[in-house]
């Protein structure tokens, strides 16, 4: 029985290629795009964001979660190395803020579909990905206005284009996470706001707890706390020319108060 099964598997693999059959539960091999954030690349993600896959930054609850700042800071990092597309379905993008994050605006394409036309936003993202755009950020805002069938169709087309081009695709999604998007994602990072970071009484950043709730490319369940330090372009003490929005730190529960106090 085992020999005949092995022979059948060998026949299928020789005829249809080694990727034709894969064991369930295994991890999908994917190239990665390093985010340059130590905690993301080593603690949460397998070397960075997966290429050719859809990564979702999901809000755990309604309200501020830091997902949009995170996707914008990732886009800013990417823009210094490649062309970047940002689909602003949330309608919250401020290019000035993107520049403060260290983005090279000359390499950024901002896609702004009509309000509420998520289908058009996904279609445009798919078109740009098919054309060869290597990095794509999609910011969703508010509850989904798409029917499930339209969701699935749009996401399937986008996933196919992203996979074909090996592009990095990051979707920032509000809570609750739409089921089709949860299914289409190869990596889901759930973000929860853990409080403001204050220095001398001023808000200088947002602490975000990130948990890998789904991963087809690595182990899930990893957890870390990030400090999204807001840019302060007019502050004399800032390092000019270097983005400082992400100051990732792995925060252990017993050390959390000390780090919060140190700023």
């Amino acid at each position: 029985m085992a020999d005949s099964l092995s022979a059948a598997l060998a026949t299928l693999r020789s005829r249809y290629g080694p990727q034709a059959l894969q064991r369930g539960g295994g991890q999908i091999a994917a190239g990665v795009w390093p985010t340059d954030a130590f905690v993301l690349d080593t603690g949460l993600l397998p070397g960075g964001l997966p290429r050719g896959r859809i990564t979702v930054l999901a809000a755990a609850t309604r309200g501020a979660s830091g997902r949009l700042t995170l996707v914008q800071s990732l886009a800013a990092t990417a823009s210094r190395g490649c062309q970047v597309g940002y689909v602003d379905l949330a309608g919250t993008l401020d290019p000035g803020f993107l520049a403060d994050l260290g983005a090279d605006l000359a390499t950024c394409l901002v896609v702004t579909p009509e309000a509420g036309r998520w289908d058009r936003g996904f279609a445009m993202a798919r078109t740009l990905a098919r054309a060869g755009l290597p990095w794509l950020g999609i910011a969703l805002g508010g509850p989904s206005q798409l029917r499930p069938a339209a969701w699935e169709h749009a996401l399937a087309a986008l996933a196919e284009a992203v996979a074909k081009q090996g592009a990095v695709c990051v979707v920032a999604a509000p809570s609750p996470l739409a089921t089709p998007l949860a299914h289409a994602a190869s990596l889901t990072l759930t973000c929860t706001a853990a409080g403001w970071q204050r220095t001398h009484g001023d808000v200088v950043g947002l602490r975000v707890r990130a948990v890998v709730t789904k991963s087809k490319v690595g182990p899930s369940g990893a957890e870390a706390t990030l400090l999204l330090r807001y840019p302060r372009p007019y502050a004399v003490a800032e390092i000019v020319g270097l983005p400082s929005v992400i100051t990732p730190r792995v925060v252990l529960p017993e050390q959390a108060p000390a780090i919060a106090a140190s700023g």
Binding site: A99, L109, T112
Partner: protein
């Protein structure tokens, strides 16, 4: 910048010899009948050996070379030959300036297929020789068109004279003042000062020359030092190619029209890619039996240079143009042809090779969903206090495109 200058027989003479092959090796004078009060346009080597030069009157030419054949100048053939030279050499050089008796090509940078500048120049010379069916031309390569032209004149047929960057002044120094393309009065006054070669002029201070000759003095100084910096001035192309397909009977079926347009696009796109050209405008026409042809035209976001890009433009036109009557023929035309622009890919920027394709896709999205669909932000030069005044929006466009 590196400029190649190739001196070839006058295109009028080439056209005349193609028309009258029996005149090969004979004394031929192009310009018209000797009775006419016209100048000699070109002369064959045999006629030139008799002392004939372009610019002399035809009557003088008859006296110098009584046995010569006098042929009129075929302007149409010369224009066609010049266009042919330009198109063929554009395969080898991004910018080509074809004249009546010389060709200038831009050899700046490196060519992927030729390891050295000499090999590249030799390829251009070979191509020119094949196109004109003539002896290999005399070729000069230098940093400017003036020096390259003189280098070509200093060489002989089939030889390439290369002046390295920085050696221009040394190359020009022994040449006489007569080679300067300036007013003869200026060269006569320079000679009056006892200056007999370009090296002597180059040794003067530019301020002194300017004091004596004004702006001409500064130009003379730059030319004498090989610093004129003039490059190749490629002709602005107004050519167009079209492909027409006559349908088997009239048809209003959109599927049939789409297939006909696709066939025409395939032919034109393949020809564009083969010739290394790109079109800045695409037109689609429907011909009907009883009405005047109806057509639409589009300026794509970027020049189209292959089947895929051309088809994307034609597909948009197919959506716009509705046939009012059964169509008998479909015509696709690509206009404003120019050498397809090339650029150096930024190897440190991932996906940079797809930049044009991404911008073209962005252009299509803008055409379909509106101007605000895809934009590129740019920091404002004079930002105000309001956040929305810190930036402005640009159109992502490929160089040479519509944007």
């Amino acid at each position: 910048m590196r400029v190649l200058c190739a001196l070839h027989p006058h295109l009028g003479l080439v056209a005349a010899l193609r028309r009258h092959p029996d005149l090969h090796g004979e004394a031929v004078i192009v310009g018209g009948a000797p009775e006419l009060r016209l100048p000699v346009v070109a002369a064959s080597p045999v006629a030139r050996a008799a002392g004939l030069r372009a610019g002399q009157t035809l009557r003088q030419a008859q006296q110098l070379c009584p046995g010569a054949a006098f042929v009129p100048l075929d302007s149409g053939a010369v224009t066609a030959l010049r266009a042919s030279v330009s198109v063929e050499l554009q395969r080898l050089s991004p910018a080509v300036e074809a004249g009546d008796d010389e060709v200038l090509c831009d050899l700046s940078g490196r060519h992927a297929a030729y390891a050295s500048e000499m090999a590249w120049a030799a390829a251009v010379a070979r191509a020119l020789s094949v196109i004109l069916d003539a002896d290999p031309p005399a070729v000069g390569v230098a940093a400017s068109r003036f020096v390259a032209r003189l280098a070509a004149r200093a060489g002989t047929s089939g030889r390439i004279r290369r002046v390295r960057s920085g050696d221009e002044a040394a190359f020009l120094a022994p040449l006489p003042l007569a080679v300067l393309p300036v007013d003869p009065d200026v060269t006569a006054r320079l000679a009056g000062f006892g200056l007999d070669c370009l090296g002597a002029v180059a040794g003067l201070a530019p301020a002194d020359l300017q004091r004596q000759f004004g702006l001409d003095g500064l130009r003379v100084h730059r030319l004498a030092r090989g610093l004129d910096g003039d490059g190749v001035n490629p002709e602005s192309s107004v050519r167009a190619w079209s492909e027409r397909l006559v349908l088997d009977g009239s048809s209003g079926d959109l599927e049939t029209l789409l297939r006909a347009a696709r066939h025409c696009t395939d032919v034109l796109g393949a020809r564009l890619a083969e010739r290394g050209l790109a079109a800045s405008e695409v037109r689609l026409d429907y011909e009907t039996e009883d009405r005047a042809p109806s057509g639409v035209c589009v300026v794509p976001a970027g020049p189209v240079g292959n089947i895929v890009e051309t088809w994307a433009a034609v597909l948009g036109l197919l959506g716009e143009l509705r046939p009012g009557a059964p169509v008998t023929a479909v015509l696709v035309e690509v206009q404003r042809l120019a050498p397809a622009a090339g650029r150096q890919t930024d190897l440190w920027r991932a996906g940079d090779a797809a930049r044009e394709a991404v911008f073209l896709a962005a252009g299509r999205l803008r055409a379909r969903f509106g101007d605000q669909a895809v934009r590129r932000p740019r920091l404002a030069l004079d930002p105000g206090d309001l956040p929305e005044r810190r930036f402005a929006w640009d159109v992502p466009a490929v160089a040479g495109g519509a944007g």
